[in-house]
Amino acid sequence: MAPEQIIFIVAAAVTLVAALFVVATKNLIHAAFWLILALFGVAVTYVLLQAGFIAVVQVVVYIGAISILFIFAAMLTRKVMQDTGPQNNPNWWLAALIALVFLAGLVLMLLGIPGIHDQAPALAGDANPIQQLGEQLVSADHYLLPFELASVLLVAAMIGAIYVAWEKKR
């Protein structure tokens, strides 16, 4: 077995177990820590796919910013040190159903890609993935529109956040 395969199996197992604990653990902050582990496992998978940039961005954005904000928000709630309340609400089966349908859809879509079972071709030695990614993001015939739409969405969210947090001047 190649070293990459061993690393992949370990990373995938850790990701799945951690993801399971995110929903299974009772303590809110523990759930956030498990989520960090799961996201880190996903980053390892990106590294194995030779997408170093995406992996590092995954860590910066999801672990460095979003998870820390989760924990921060959870810390600001009452009874932060204690396990509180039941963790299920009456709609839990609906959430499980949606998750299952989503999983089935993803699997079907992935199986539909031609050549999904083949060995991935090696990247060209002199290719610069970051440069290619950047050019694709800002060229009009590739991903310019989605990229700009995401930017507009983020700006809107930011303005909304500032409006909500704005101290009303009397």
Binding site: F53, V57, I68
Partner: protein, 413 residues
């Protein structure tokens, strides 16, 4: 001769031939060599901390007109060893109601977050852990783990002061990450690469000359990331006992302590690598050992400044710290980034066909960027001078300190 000019790679090559002689496969030999290298870098980092702790205590003492450690060994240089032995023998105390796993994981994470940065720092042209092509982002990503460790420590200790320290840590570290990342983008723009090794190789003119504002912003915000004075609000003794590490004892506290000192040294190494030319210096290309020497000379000079700032400046208030970040550093970094990008594009448009990273042209380019930086700094300072300093709001009417009490009515009559 090969041994003298590049001992580390000489030893690595020798080990490789020895292991290949055992009949091991290439992949196994590579893996073993990588592990050995990682172990060597880690051990070296910890060994260095033993020295820097002594160095900083000595500097601290000298600036405060004391002797500092002077009992164990010449100039007290071995003082850290008895301290280490002492801290090894201390009792571990876990407070009631602490979250045990998280509580024990936090110190480990705090040290390893710093140690991970060392994986990408090039000590010489041929001596480096690994050359990641997104090294700059990697540094930012690893920094997130440090923030996380402080949150974990503060939350799991089941202590109000620790939790308050963690709150402050999040506010401080997350906000100072913003100007740091923006300042890091400037060398990336100038070097047209994200790899640390190629950034060092592209510094024909040091980036601290080409982009002094970026160097300054990076230095200040990474100082804030280390959480040492004047940014030590997360462990302010006068307000929070010891902040997030209040409940830690023995070696677990020692881990935080080592992590802090190592972090201070690491940011010096990073500043050197990204803005002061790293291992570059006379003859460093042909003799890698000299590169190591230049690297450490520069790093120790920066480290001296880091220690100096820690020793001489008082602690900021939390509102001052956050205002400084959001109202000065972040806008300045944003404007600097835009100006640098525009200047680079204009240079490329006006002088087509010129390779800007090339040696001969880099001084012209550096002069342009330096002039722009100077202009920007002048503009920022004049703008700042126009804003009058706001006096603090007085919450209640001032009370006299000591007043004689009203004499009782019986005395007056």
């Amino acid at each position: 001769m090969a041994f003298l000019s590049d001992p580390i790679n000489f030893i690595a090559n020798w080990l490789e031939t020895v292991m290949l002689g055992f009949g091991w496969s290439d992949a196994v030999v590579n893996a073993v060599l990588k592990f050995l290298g990682a172990g060597a870098v880690g051990t070296f980092g910890f060994a260095l901390v033993i020295f820097t702790i002594w160095l900083e205590r000595k500097l601290y003492a000298r600036i405060q007109d004391r002797f500092g450690p002077n009992r164990v060994g010449p100039w007290g240089i071995f003082q850290t060893f008895p301290d280490m032995i002492k801290i090894f023998t201390k009792e571990y105390i876990t407070p009631n109601g602490a979250d045990k796993v998280v509580y024990n994981l936090a110190p480990i994470l705090s040290v390893s977050a710093v140690m991970l940065i060392w994986a990408v720092i090039p000590f010489a042209s041929t001596v480096f852990g690994t050359d990641v092509n997104v090294g700059v982002l990697y540094i930012v990503a690893v920094g997130a783990a440090g923030t996380l460790s402080i949150i974990m420590a503060g939350w799991s200790s089941n202590n109000k002061y620790a939790l308050l320290g963690a709150f402050r840590a999040v506010a401080q570290m997350v906000s100072y990450e913003v100007p740091m990342v923006l300042a890091l983008l400037v060398p990336v723009l100038l070097g047209q690469t994200m790899g640390i090794n190629s950034l060092v190789a592209s510094q024909n003119v040091w980036y601290s000359v080409m982009a002094p504002i970026a160097a300054l912003i990076f230095f200040i915000s990474s100082l804030a990331e280390t959480g040492r004075a004047p940014f030590d609000l997360l462990e302010a003794e006068s307000e929070l006992v010891a902040g997030y590490q209040t409940e830690y004892s023995g070696l677990k506290f020692g881990m935080f302590y080592v992590g802090e000192f190592l972090h201070a040294f690491t940011i010096s190494a990073l500043t050197t690598t990204l803005f002061l030319g790293g291992w570059r210096g006379p003859w460093s290309e042909s003799v890698p050992v000299l590169g190591i020497l230049w690297f450490f000379i520069k790093t120790f000079i920066v480290y001296f400044v880091v220690a100096w700032i820690r020793i001489s400046l008082p602690r900021l208030r939390i509102d001052q710290m956050l205002n400084f970040n959001w109202k000065i550093l972040t806008p300045l970094a944003l404007v600097l980034l835009i100006v640098t990008a525009l200047a680079e594009k204009l240079l490329a448009l006006l002088l087509p066909g010129l390779n800007l990273v090339d040696t001969a042209n880099s001084w012209v380019r550096a002069a342009v960027h330096l002039a722009l930086n100077g202009l920007l700094l002048w503009g920022a300072l004049t703008l700042l001078k126009k804003i009058p300093a706001k006096p603090r709001k007085v919450v209640g009417s001032p009370r006299p300190v000591a007043v004689a009490p009203e004499p009782p009515a019986s005395v007056i009559s």
